[in-house]
């Protein structure tokens, strides 16, 4: 079957070496992303979502390594590429924006100097042309007085403006895929909404595929086409957003949604949390990774580590419990 997918991640597995042993931060993660589609990757800290994005970009720290799997961008396997080739893809075809715009921008360089690097390198533009392009894009992301802003330093801008600069910087070379790692976490709520709105607009304008990584279900609900839920480094559920929120098929997803306070339901008592801690990732799993914390755990769950199944078309999950038993527990 010919695949129109822009990005195909197959059995991606990444390990980190530490003094105490080897940690498997990403374990057999697979998904596809179409052109112009927005996929949200959701999970707690330590679930492997950031590690996944870094693996795709090839930006793992020296102690990390992709040990298995393929990452294909329009047919080319990125993992197999030499570093020089990889660099040509980075910033040009895949761009990434990070969580904290204060530390992600270089405080010692002017905004303009940081913006023009990409176009000058990847598109061969001269400095003047690159600046014009930058000003145009800064205007587009609604930064007032864009030309003057080129000469500003990052610390002279507000948090929201800095994140817009980062977005502009990422889009300057017209990438096909944008990876946004917690782009709104460090921002105020009102600014968050503006940035998300901006990302949505740009996505429609440029037919950009976006991988949105976040721990915030609310952000995902309002913007993403499909949602991928990660736990302990693996995919536990993958579904179109609307369906996921209406009817989660994995206990973890359900528990996540239950722990979100809702505006229309009067709280009956204490806020719900998920008891326990995320598991250690340095040993292979002999049972379901979520079993120690699952509200609907059965003996069948402890036999072995469940595989990813597709009980309904387009909906994937990693759980042995029958679907009907599950839906009973969700409100």
């Amino acid at each position: 079957m010919p695949s129109a997918a822009l990005l195909e991640v197959t059995e991606l597995t990444t390990e980190f070496r530490s003094d105490e042993g080897t940690v498997r931060a990403v374990d057999g993660v697979s998904f596809t992303l179409e052109k112009g589609e927005m996929l949200g990757i959701v999970g707690e800290s330590g679930s492997g979502k950031s590690a996944t994005s870094l693996s795709i970009m090839g930006l793992l720290p020296p102690r990390g390594r992709v040990v298995k799997g393929r990452v294909t961008l329009a047919g080319t396997d990125l993992v197999a590429l030499a570093e020089a080739e990889r660099r040509r893809v980075r910033g040009r075809r895949i761009a990434m924006i990070f969580q904290d715009p204060m530390t992600a921008l270089n405080p010692y360089l002017r905004v303009g100097e940081q913006l023009v690097e990409g176009p000058m390198l990847h598109l061969g533009l001269g400095e003047r042309d690159a600046e014009e392009r930058a000003v145009a894009l800064l205007d587009r992301v609604r930064i007032p007085d864009a030309r003057a802003r080129l000469r500003s330093y990052p610390h002279e801008l507000s948090g929201g403006m800095r994140q817009r600069v980062m977005i502009a910087m990422a889009l300057l070379c017209d990438p096909e895929l944008l990876i946004a790692d917690e782009p709104t976490t460090a921002l105020d709520v009102t600014v968050q909404a503006q940035i998300l709105e901006l990302i949505r607009e740009l996505r429609l304008e440029k037919e950009l595929a976006i991988l949105l990584i976040t721990h915030d279900l609310g952000v995902v609900a309002s913007t993403c086409d499909r949602v991928l839920v990660m736990y302990a480094g693996r995919v536990v559920e993958l579904a179109p957003a609307r369906e996921l929120f209406a009817r989660p098929l994995h206990p973890y997803t359900a528990a996540l949604m239950r722990s979100l306070p809702s505006l229309d339901v009067v709280p009956a008592g204490r806020l719900e949390t998920i008891a326990g801690l995320p598991p250690r990732l340095d040993q292979p799993f002999t049972e379901c990774s979520f079993a120690p914390r699952c509200a609907t755990v059965h003996d069948a769950c402890r036999v072995r580590d469940p595989l990813l199944t597709e009980p309904e078309p387009g909906r994937f999950r990693r759980c042995v419990l029958p679907v009907e038993q599950l839906t009973r527990n969700v409100r």
């Binding site: 970009m57 040509r88 010692y108």
Partner: protein, 373 residues
Amino acid sequence: MSASEALAVVAGVTALGGVAWLPPRATRVCGALFGGLVSFAVARAAWGLPAGALTGVAIAALLGRYGPPTVLRRLTFLVPSLLLLVFVTTLLMYHAPGSPFAGEKVVSAQVEAALRAHFGIPKSAVEFFGIYLRRLIVEGSLGPSVKVQGRTVEALLGPALPVSITLGLLALMLASAAGLLLGVHAGLRPSSWSDSASTVLSAVGLSLPSFVIGSVLMVLFSLGLRWLPVAGWGGFRELVLPSITLALPYAAYIARLARSGTIEVMNEDFIRTARAKGLPESAVVLRHALKGAILPVVSFLGPAAAGIMTGSFVVETLFGIPGMGQWFVRGAINRDYSVVLGTALVYATLVTAFNLAVDLAYAWLDPRIRSRP
């Protein structure tokens, strides 16, 4: 210590502390004024009164208009600090046993009184301070030397100053270059040969007094291999050993600072952003990392310069170099007050000037500092 002396010290320290309370405008005005004053004094010594006055006014105006706040703050401290320095040094010398006039021959009270009047060295420290200041401001002179008959301190220090400055600057440049190269390389590739080399350098540089290193070098290269002259001052070859000796401990320290600075910067988020843009590693290091990595080195350069200037005492003695260090030591031993004060003033001014340059460099490197008062 007499009551008046104690009072004067307290007043001086209070004045110094009081500078902290000045509002920004006053700081700007004072800083500019003091900067102008010191420039005037130096220019007058070099080029005469009219040129001096012109320089002083010009510098004061420039500073008042364009001077960065940190620089002006430092300058505001300058004159009170110098005054306090002179006073405290005077006090220390006056309270040390011995006097300039106690030599091999015992002098009678009358002769001593006459000598004291001639040289302007009364028995009271406070009086001496007054005479010294008056002479400095009105005549622009650092006073006569007691031990070297007939010569003023300026005449003695004049030829010695360029020598010390040359040696000091050369040592500083050597230390910075070697330290930075080794340190940054070690920081980029920990556990490589440069990491081991910089560790060895630190070991040698920081664990041996410089005169030991100097003597070993001297024995090796001058006496043993006869490649370089043993001592003295004249041309390029005489500079080699002393500057290396002086530079070594600072090179070691700078290498460590550069190494840790590089490691810290490379772990920063914006380096990851630069890589995410697909920049080649050389651009990431040179364009993005370097400025931040050398910041700790730059701020160390101030104390380093001060240290090099004092370390030069020992190196100058060892290699027989006619610099300012020997005048200070000799003056101290001989109780030649004006010589000691003169060298102290020159040193303190040099150190401050250098610290100012470091402040400016730091502000240029780190734009976040520029806006803070």
